[in-house]
Symmetry: D2
Subunit: 388 residues, 4 copies
């Protein structure tokens, strides 16, 4: 086995959820060793969290800038950092570590604004660092296979993209009872920015559709809603999409879809065949030829480099959310090593969401919001800056 | 058993498809006796078709006006007529028989235009005749149960209506090969009017959503597309809906959705629970409470007057499209008999699509088309006449 | 259309269930006209029932022997009789009508014993009459397609046959509360004979497996159980099967399978592919090649003479239990007409359960019961007479 | 976080599959640190494999006995060993480490024979060490929930247990082409012992049924088959089961079930409700009350200590095979720490397959084999020793 990559983490201290998912993802396939962290900006909490993880106390930091500086100065300093802080710190932290020469694996969203994201992207390009953005659903083996099917033309010319993401955890006004911290900050414009459901899960739906279809829509006509009285941000978003090739799409995301836990579903229809994926049954991909029998492709069953690359176990042994997440870490490791060794990365490792996905997501959210504010006027997504 | 109702039919001669579905529907539960018909406007074909059905030659007509007149004059003349002609004759034929005092069971669409439909509706109201419009999906037991669940408040306040209808039989330009008669006339503006897919199946999706939700949307923002080059009418339609109560909806209908045969699916989400129905598995209705386990309700299993009313066989014995269609005939028979006996019909028989559904469909199609022509501008559906 | 066949019925008066299913089946496709009946052996009830069906009072009988005699003497007498009496009358009634020269469509079971069945079979062969036995699940389009797939070798050499039939309506001792007539007679050895669940639904499972696989097992090792205290007949049966070609099978039937309405499921595995059918989703047939993607074949989608023959509506329009039942009447009509016209019947009409299926069922039940009584000793099915 | 447990591993060197699954399972939740190993009995291969894993060369061994001795002598020696060797070494290795005072996590099967297993069990009891047997399907959250439902009486009195395990990878004679090492040894009596499919996957099916139902059957009537010519061991096994409470069961396992990857399915029916689990969709558990709607319970959705204990992510985020496997390591860690701290373990950690499951599996296999050899004679499972 190749040497493990030296990993640092910012955010993800005691009580955090996504930090643990990242740590498990990093170690699942054995490519990383967590050596340094700024788990909290509160020094005692940072230290306690680091101790709980068995980190060297010397390499536990409370200030991410100090961490970037100190680690850059060590001969055994970290090579890559995972950023799992609250959203508003993603870009500042990423900036600090890019400037210190590290590669970055950043939880979504990329930044608080498109402008902030673009500045960051320019820096990443300039420093030639790997920048992975953790849209985990892009790590499922059958999502990889779906992407390969589209790329190889198995669907013919694409016509329809239907993507939806349903949850129901905001069906009731739980942000008002003081018990649900996540509901509180996600529905608070001061902390979440101008969108709720759209930015939180609509962005995942958008990314998944783009990842599999290989296309970004050019225009959007959108509407946001808040169904629960008193709610300040959207708990539902729905929109129509246009693609330059003539394809059309619908995207809807809802956190008040009663009975749905995490129902992210994608359907794409082409001139020859369609496909369907349901995140809650991630080992299955449906391929539906025109006029023919639907086929249930399963992870491990399909003869596809893309699917094999993201499968750890034989056919019929389900992989879950955590494995999908870990796949992003696998691919980031390969890309980092390729840069270190001045070689091309394995082609399959390029199926990894990057800073470009983050920028595309910002453009999409901005355009959708702008359309909503103009009563559904079709907005150009790629020219979204001009629309502000 | 009560006396059978004396039934006539206009249209549905040799080679016709929907005429046979209506005849089977009429006789499935034994409430009707087909006694007279104008099966074709071509006399020899009409006679041949009548003979094949074992009709009395005296009561086979080539001219529907003559049939209406002659049957009205007979003491044993028909009481109700089924109209299964090409679309442009629906309203003229219905007018002739309403004026002759008969009840009407009419295949959809109601008319060629909203105006024609409204004139017809006024006549039906004036003559106090039963007028059933055969949207067959409203006849499924589990659709009836879904409607009852919504009406009884099981979903709480409605928030989202998602309805979609996918077919793939127009994925290729089959209207250009001279072999597919139905494709030819459905895609010919001269014979189908200004819409293709929208009017053909979008109207069914709209009716089903309205039937179950008990709500008509107030506004629509729509887009129609023709994906196959050279096609003059839409083979795909997608739109956003607004309801006066604040609910939102999406509707899409497509005849180029690769791999889909007749995938009419409805989901409705309320503040307490959601429901989902798939026409291709019509014995199953999913009820999904907020935060709870999805339940698969089955025909025959549920304790519901509405579902029992539309179930002929015990739980686990599937009913199909033909039984759903027949249910409309059952309910029309009950309503006709109630009028004949000057009594109230059984309440369950009122779950029957009527001329009002036809008018609503016309308003919807007109509004969607108007929105499409104005690049997706939100159009008022109920005030659609003004938009022309 | 050809002249309708003149149909009589014995049994099926007021309050009966299966009589109505047969009548609807007979008229669904328009091949029969019900002209005479002995709907009950109680004269007034027979007359009332006949009047309710609009039968000519002269052709309503209380005595089936008189009916056979009188109808045989009429120039317009019935050509075929449907037998829907209690089980113990199936053979006597069939005998009377065969002797009078009529064709027979008989509800299952064929007879009360194998011996009685064999006598009847000899008579039917001697008189060269069509004898259809209504195992309705053999009428589904996708069951027909499954049978064709096996026959055409699509599965390779057959290895495994797994069939199961689950209901739950006897989960509680409902036969003891005096409210459930059907439970009472089905669980009363005096009226049902020596088996309960095995004869009632196990026989359907056996027939379906034989119909699709084209094979009858040679040996059975069986066990019957009564789970509800005080119950005299089996409410569950399970068994292993051996086929002469080396294939193996399992069959289980249960009326105490909690949560199951009418779950008749068949799986067959061959050296090349497997198939699976679930009666509660009868429009779908799963074909599963070795190492490949499962395919969901749908009625109307498959290019198969057998499936088309049993499909009345386009792909995606579900057919149900009643249509499957009607298919048997369609096929019986074709076979009767072929005999009347001294020609070969359409090949697809031969996929019809006959008196041979009834005999096979008796042999199977007798052998399974004998095995059960010998603690699961493997019994030869075809030589079952010797085992008595 | 508590200190990590010091883990050793025997077996699992270069090219091995299950060793990697165990290592990932051990590290997924952070309870173990792999510090020593005898990855191969071939010294150079052992050293290479250890280096690839980054192990201290001093703690890489070629001889597991030496490893047990050396580690026991170190103050920082391992506390627990994972055994992932070929089957014939499971018991000898476990014996060596138990005698050295270590806890054991052993891949299945427990031993080569019941006798060997019982000797081992006696040793484990005497030494009071934790002994976990890795039947991974017992680690799924919904399997844990199913077990809790049965234990809490949600199903009423149990009546039927139906368990099946289907694969198709042995559909063709791949053991004869020299390319498939696993097929070779699994079908070689010299290396696999007297059973093939029965011991390999039938044992998992048996364990799962026992784990969820909480019952071991008392008697079995079994048949083994080899469908592929020239094959020396069974590639299919089917059997009937009897339980002392009166319940009945069927178990079948097949490696020639065309189209099945790893289809382990369990259904249990009680007097009040049934349940169904399918390993290929492990986030779903079906609960089916008598006469009621089937409910789809999902991981994260159910309010159950047992399910929560085995869930790492919110509802709708799938967990897979690797997480189920890791759950066994989580529970073993808790039991080991409880012993170290002389306290009772968390109750949920007791849902862990142990050496008793291994003994039960041996008794079952021996009894099934004995029954097969006596043409399906019912054999007592618990008294199986006497049957030899």
């Amino acid at each position: 086995m190749t040497r493990k990559l030296r990993l640092g983490m910012v955010g993800g201290g005691e009580g955090a959820f996504i930090g643990g998912v990242h740590r498990t993802a990093a170690q699942l396939d054995g490519h990383y060793e967590l050596l340094a962290a700024a788990l909290s900006s509160e020094p005692q909490r940072a230290a306690r969290s680091a101790a709980a993880l068995g980190l060297d106390p010397e390499r536990s930091y409370a200030d991410y800038r100090e961490m970037a500086r100190a680690e850059a100065a060590r001969p055994d300093g970290i090579e890559v950092v995972s950023i799992v802080t609250p959203n508003h710190l993603h870009a500042p932290v990423a900036t600090a570590f890019l400037e210190a020469g590290m590669h970055v694996i950043c939880d979504k969203p990329l930044a608080l604004s498109l402008q902030e994201g673009e500045t960051l992207a320019a820096l990443a390009r300039q420093r030639q660092r790997v920048f992975a953005l953790t849209h985990p659903y892009a790590g499922y083996a059958m999502v990889r296979h779906a992407r390969a099917l589209v790329r190889n033309g198995a669907l013919g010319a694409l016509r329809l993209v239907q993507v939806e993401y349903q949850q129901d955890w905001l069906s009731q006004p739980i942000e008002q009872d003081g018990q649900h911290k996540q509901a509180c900050w996600r529905l608070d414009p001061a902390r979440s920015g101008p969108t709720g459901c759209l930015g939180d899960i609509g962005s995942h739906a958008y990314q998944l559709a783009a990842f599999v279809s290989g296309m970004l829509p050019s225009q959007v006509s959108a509407e946001l809603c808040s169904f629960v009285p008193g709610r300040q941000l959207d708990d539902h978003a729905q929109m129509m999409l246009r693609y330059t090739c003539g394809a059309r799409g619908l995207l809807w995301a809802s956190q008040v879809a009663a009975g749905c836990a995490n129902a992210l579903r994608l359907r794409i229809f082409g001139s020859q065949a369609g496909l369907a994926f349901d995140q809650e049954r991630p080992d299955e991909l449906w391929l539906t030829p025109v006029g023919g029998a639907a086929q249930c492709l399963r992870q491990g069953h399909v003869d596809s480099a893309a699917a094999r690359h993201a499968s750890r176990v034989p056919a019929g042994h389900p992989q879950g959310y955590q494995e999908a997440f870990a796949q992003l870490y696998v691919d980031a490791a390969e890309q980092i090593r390729a840069r270190q060794q001045a070689r091309a990365p394995f082609p399959e490792s390029l199926d990894l969401p990057t800073i470009e996905d983050g920028l595309a997501g910002h453009r999409f959210i901005d355009a959708a919001l702008a359309s909503h504010r103009k009563n559904g006027l079709w907005m150009d997504i790629q020219a979204v800056r001009n629309a502000h």
